[in-house]
Amino acid sequence: MLNMDQKFKGIDQIDLLIDEAGLNGDKRRERYPDRKFYGFFCSYLPEELVLAAGMQPLRLFPSSLQGTPAELPAYCCSLAKGTLSLAKPGTYDDLAGYGFVHTCDTMQCLGGIWKDIVSQDKTYMIVPPVMLGAPGADKYFRIEAENLLFALGQLNKSNPGNSEVAAALKLCRQVRQLAGELDQLRPMLPSQLVSALLRAGQVMPREEYVSALQNALPVLKEKAEEAGARKKLLVTGAVLENDSFFSMVEELGGRVVADDTCTGYRHFIEPPIKEETENLMQTLINRYIEMPPCPCRNRGLDTRLNYLESLARRRGAAAAIILIRKYCDPHAWDAVPLAKGLRDAGIQVLVMELEGAGVGGQERTRLQAFIESL
C-alpha cells in the first residue's frame, strides 16, 4: 500500500507526464530553460548519443493545424509536411540541431530539404543499414554512429567520450526498463493514458522523465484493473502525434493491449541483447539492430510478422489494427502481408488509413463496426 504522500506525488507526476505529452515539447523553453534540445524524427536515432553530447532528444511532431509547404508536393505524408511547415516560421529555432535518420524515401528527401531551407549546419543525417542482418551491417552502423557522435560533439562544443556514452546508455536503459513496466500494465490501463505516458518520454528531458515515471508507476499499478469485457487489440503503425485514436478505441469498448507504433512501445523496447561487446558503441548499436524492425528495414522476410503474431498471442489480442498515414509507403506496403499473415493466424485485422493521428467520424464508424464484430 502506498502512503498518502506517495500517492499524491504519484498522481502529480502522472499529471505532469500527461501535460508534457499534450504539449509535445511546446513549452520546453519555459519549463527547462537550462536544457538544450536536439530535434529528431525516428526511433532509429540513437538517443544515447544525443544525451552523451549533452543535449536532450526531442521528437518532432506535426501539429494538427498545418499547411502544405510549397517545397513538398501534395502526395507526401503529413509528418513531413507538418514538421516542415512548423520549421519554416522558426518554431524550432531554439533547437541545438536536427537529427535525421535515413528511413523511407520521404525522410531521405525531407532531410535534404531541411538542410536547404531550415539549417545547413545544424542538420545531420545518419544512414543505418537497411538490411540489418547483412554481412558488415553491424560494423557499418557502428561507424555511422561514431560519426554521428562526433558531429553532435562538435555541434554542442562538447567532447563526448566513453564515460559520457556509458552514462547515457545507463540512463536510456533506465527509461526503457520503466517504459517496459508501463507496457506490462497496458492491458489494465486506459489505452490513451499509456500512449500519452510513453510519448512524454520522447519530448521531455530524460532524467525528469525517469523520476516522474518512477513516482507514477506505483500509483498506476494500484489503479490497474482487468480490462473486463473490453475487446483486446494490437495496434501497429508509424508516428502518432496525439492520443485521439487510443481514446476512440476506449470509447468504443476496446483496449490496446499490445502496441507496435514508432512512438509507442517500439521506441522503448529493449530486446534481449546477445552479449555486451567490449566495444561500447557496438553494444549500443546492437540494440537498434535487434529491436523489432519497422517496415523500412529488413531482418528476414517474416521477422516483423512473426513478432507481431507472437506479441498478439502473448497479450491475448483478438484483433489487430494496422494504421497507415496517408502517403506513407513503407507501412502501406507492409499492411498487405501483415494483414494476410495475421488473418491466417486467426487474428482479425482492420487496416485504417489516416491523414494524421487525428480520427473523425468516418474512422469511428469503421472502428465501431470492427470492434462490434469481434
Binding site: I113, Y140, A332
Partner: protein
C-alpha cells in the same frame, strides 16, 4: 498515329525493336531451359549490379522496364486495379503495383506477364520501394530474395559504405556459387564490366551529340532508346546496338538535322517519362519547336565502372548513382546539363509514383533557377498510371511556360 506525325523516328528503331523482342523471347525460353542448365532467371531492379549476375550466367529480367512497357501498351490501369483489389494502396509506385497486378492476373498483362523468377534481386540505390516490392515478390513466388543495401550518400562516398557494399557483394558471390554450382571467375566479371563500359561509353557519346544545335534527338528518342542500356547492359548486343545508333545520330549532326522540324527552344527534362501519354505529352512541346535535348533519367545509365579491382569499382559505381545522392548533387547535375547543352529552360515531372525523385524537386528547381537564370516548370503526373494525367491543366501550364520562353 496522328499524334506521332511530327516525330521523326530513327532508322535504328527497327533494330531496337528486334533486339528487345528477341530479349523477351529469350527470357521466355529461359524459363524452360534455364534451370536444367543452371542458368537461373532473376527479376532485378534497374540499378542492380547485373554484371555480377551475368558472371554466373544468370538471366535478368527487369520489372521496371516491363512497367514502362505495360504503360505504353495501356495495360497499367487494369493491372494497378488488380493490385489494389489485393490490398495495395493506389498511392504506391505504379511500376511496382502494375507489376504485382501482372503477377496476380497474368492474362491481362502484356505477353501474359514476365516469366517466373528463380530468385529476385533488388538494390536500394534508387529507392526504398524496391525493398518492399521485392519482398512481396519473394513471398509470392517463394524464391530467394537478395537485397544489396547501398547506403544513401548525404555527401561523397565514404570508406565504410564502400566496405559494407563490398562485403555484401562477396556474400552475393558465395550465394550465387551455391545457387548455380559455378565458381566465381573474376576474369569473366572483368570482361562483362568491359562490355558494360563499352555500351555505357557509347550511350554517353550519343547523349553528348545532343549538344549540337539543333539537337539530333528529342526526349522521346532518349527514352525509347534507353531500353538496351537497362536490360542488356554487359552484353555484346547492347554495345553493338549503341554503335549503330551512334553512327546514325552522328550523321544527323553532320547533316545538321534536327530531331524536330524546327528547333526553337532547348529544354532539359527531369524524371521518368510519362509513358502512358508520352507522345501526346511531348507533342505539346514539339509542336512549338521545343526540344528536350537531354535529361537526368536516361543519363542515370551513363556511369562507367572505374578501372581497378572490378568488385570495388562496381561497389562505387552502384552506390554513387544519382538517385542515391543529395539534392545539392542533383541540382548541380541539372545546372551542368543546362550549361553544357545550352538549354533555355527545364521541365520537371513531379511523378507521384517516385518519391525519391520527386519530393526534392521544388528545392532543386529554385536552386537551379537561381544559379542559371533559366526558368523551370513542374508538371504533376505519373510515369505509368494514366489516372494521374490531367491533360487540360497540363496543356495550359505547358503553353504558358513555352510562351514565356518564346518572348
Amino acid at each position: 498515329m496522328g499524334q506521332q506525325r511530327r516525330y521523326k523516328q530513327l532508322e535504328s528503331t527497327a533494330q531496337l525493336k528486334k533486339l528487345i523482342t528477341r530479349y523477351y523471347a529469350l527470357s521466355r525460353y529461359h524459363r524452360l531451359w534455364g534451370r536444367p542448365l543452371k542458368r537461373p532467371l532473376a527479376w532485378v531492379t534497374s540499378g542492380a549490379p547485373v554484371e555480377l549476375l551475368r558472371a554466373f550466367k544468370i538471366h535478368s529480367v527487369y520489372p521496371e522496364q516491363y512497367g514502362a512497357l505495360c504503360s505504353t501498351s495501356k495495360a497499367t490501369l487494369g493491372l494497378c486495379q488488380e493490385a489494389e483489389a489485393a490490398g495495395y494502396s493506389p498511392d504506391l509506385c505504379s511500376y511496382a503495383t502494375s507489376n504485382i497486378g501482372s503477377v496476380l492476373k497474368a492474362d491481362i498483362a502484356p505477353m501474359k506477364g514476365l516469366p517466373k523468377p528463380d530468385l529476385v534481386v533488388a538494390c536500394n540505390n534508387i529507392c526504398g520501394t524496391v525493398l518492399k516490392w521485392y519482398e512481396a515478390l519473394a513471398r509470392h513466388f517463394q524464391v530467394p530474395l537478395i537485397v544489396i543495401d547501398t547506403p544513401f550518400l548525404t555527401g561523397d562516398m565514404t570508406d565504410h559504405a564502400k566496405e559494407y557494399v563490398l562485403e555484401q557483394f562477396k556474400d552475393l558471390i558465395s550465394q550465387m556459387e551455391k545457387l548455380t554450382g559455378r565458381n566465381f571467375n573474376p576474369g569473366e566479371l572483368g570482361k562483362i564490366s568491359d562490355l558494360s563500359n563499352e555500351a555505357v561509353g557509347l550511350w554517353k557519346e550519343i547523349r553528348g551529340l545532343c549538344r549540337a544545335k539543333p539537337s539530333p534527338l528529342n526526349g522521346p528518342d532518349l527514352f525509347i532508346h534507353m531500353a538496351p542500356i537497362v536490360v542488356l547492359r554487359g552484353t555484346r548486343e547492347a554495345a553493338d546496338y549503341y554503335r549503330l545508333l551512334k553512327d546514325e545520330v552522328k550523321k544527323r549532326v553532320e547533316r545538321e538535322e534536327s530531331a524536330l522540324e524546327e528547333e526553337k527552344i532547348r529544354l532539359v527534362w527531369d524524371n521518368i517519362a510519362i509513358w502512358s501519354n508520352m507522345f501526346k505529352f511531348f507533342k505539346m512541346f514539339s509542336e512549338r519547336g521545343a526540344c528536350f535535348v537531354t535529361d537526368t533519367y536516361t543519363g542515370g545509365w551513363s556511369m562507367e565502372i572505374a578501372p581497378g579491382d572490378p568488385l570495388e569499382s562496381l561497389a562505387a559505381t552502384y552506390t554513387e548513382v544519382f538517385l542515391n545522392r543529395s539534392p545539392e548533387f542533383r541540382a548541380k547535375q541539372i545546372i551542368d546539363l543546362i550549361k553544357e547543352f545550352k538549354a533555355d529552360g527545364f521541365v520537371m515531372h513531379s511523378n507521384r509514383s517516385c518519391k525519391p525523385y520527386s519530393l526534392v524537386q521544388e528545392v532543386i528547381r529554385k536552386r537551379v533557377m537561381q544559379e542559371t537564370g533559366v526558368p523551370g516548370l513542374v508538371v504533376e503526373a505519373d510515369m505509368a498510371d494514366p489516372r494521374a494525367f490531367a491533360e487540360e491543366p497540363i496543356r495550359n501550364r505547358v503553353q504558358a511556360f513555352l510562351e514565356t520562353l518564346s518572348d
